[in-house]
């Protein structure tokens, strides 16, 4: 049959919002239901497309927050000058529909069989695809040692705070709060720098796989720091987005 020989095309389909979780005052997770969903790989994203009444369209990519096998969800941070995120974070309710396509991406992805220790670093909402990796690690019963270094402005800006507060066996979560810290805070309280990375990252002898996601300046600092520590550049995968307000 000619039809089955054709490569599967990535087409837009309607997603139905089945639930909304407020993660922080600016960040929401949307649980989605799709009729035709090909299982994704942790780290992939999907595109969301909105069409205005006048026909104007805007599409943006959002990291998938769930593990493969779980119902797909995305976590969206509201950008004040955004074309898509204000709708997704302020307007959308359970039962609403919008267009999506995916899963997308073959570079910033982690599979449990990739081996090595896992070092993942997030700035702000860069934690979303890394959370999918941690959930995938749990779901696949992977024993790869995993460490998440997570930089947030304040404790109230920490996304998935409850979930990350109860890490699985073999997973370590290290927070740094760059702008304000709650009383009695004993963790890091500064932007990630070379010294902090040296203290936190797995030694390069463990042949670690690193995934770094966040604002451009964060990603540049962390990826350069890891390579300086001896990480193979090809094992340091990056995903950047503009700082809030500057994309």
């Amino acid at each position: 049959m000619a039809r089955t020989a054709v490569r599967r095309r990535l087409s837009w389909q309607l997603a139905t919002v089945t639930g909304v979780v407020d993660e922080t005052p600016r960040v929401r997770t949307l649980l989605l239901e799709l009729d035709d969903w090909q299982e994704h790989v942790a780290g992939q994203h999907l595109d969301v497309r909105l069409t205005a009444d006048d026909g104007y369209r805007a599409a943006r990519a959002y990291s998938i927050a769930s593990a493969p096998g779980e119902p797909p969800s995305i976590t969206v941070e509201r950008l004040e000058d955004g074309e898509v995120s204000p709708y997704l974070t302020e307007v959308v309710r359970a039962g609403d529909q919008f267009e999506v396509r995916g899963p997308i991406g073959g570079y910033f992805v982690w599979r449990p069989e990739d081996g090595g220790a896992l070092f993942i670093a997030a700035g702000g909402s860069g934690v979303v695809p890394l959370r999918a990796m941690l959930r995938e690690r749990r779901q696949s019963a992977s024993t790869a040692p995993a460490k998440l270094l997570y930089s947030s402005r304040s404790i109230d800006d920490v996304i998935y705070r409850t979930e990350l507060g109860e890490p699985d066996h073999g997973v370590e979560i290290v927070h740094t709060l760059t702008r304000s810290q709650p009383e009695g805070w004993t963790g890091y309280a500064r932007r990630v720098d070379a010294e902090l990375l040296r203290e936190v990252a797995w030694p390069s002898e463990d042949d670690p796989r690193a995934f770094v996601c966040g604002p451009t300046s964060f990603v540049e600092t962390v990826s350069a720091g890891l390579v300086e520590l001896g990480y193979a550049p090809s094992n340091v995968r990056t995903e950047r987005f503009g700082a809030t307000g500057g994309r």
Binding site: R7, R101, G105, G106, Y107, T216, E239, F241, R247
Partner: protein, 85 residues
């Protein structure tokens, strides 16, 4: 500013295959790199892709009337799945 990961869907649309892990060589400075690492700008009427090293213009995508116009003249080569253009 985003990076090439954000246009995986557009690249898949245009090339018919996953391209964020494809390797391009900059036509301006000669630096090789995966497309995921490129600088991507979505703010204007089209999608602009620049070299992370020299900021040179590598690719432009503009959709007009349902047709995507593609300009790859800023790349000296592009390799995906063993195929080089």
């Amino acid at each position: 500013m985003l990076d090439g990961n954000a246009i995986g869907g557009l690249l898949l649309d245009v090339f018919g295959t996953e391209m964020t892990a494809a390797e391009g060589v900059c036509g301006h400075c000669g630096t090789p790199g995966v497309l995921a690492e490129c600088e991507v700008y979505l703010g204007g009427p089209g999608t602009i892709v620049r070299c992370r090293t020299c900021k040179g213009l590598q690719m432009v995508f503009v959709e007009i009337g349902g047709v995507t116009c593609v300009d790859l003249s800023g790349l000296s080569s592009l390799t995906a799945g063993g195929l080089t253009t």
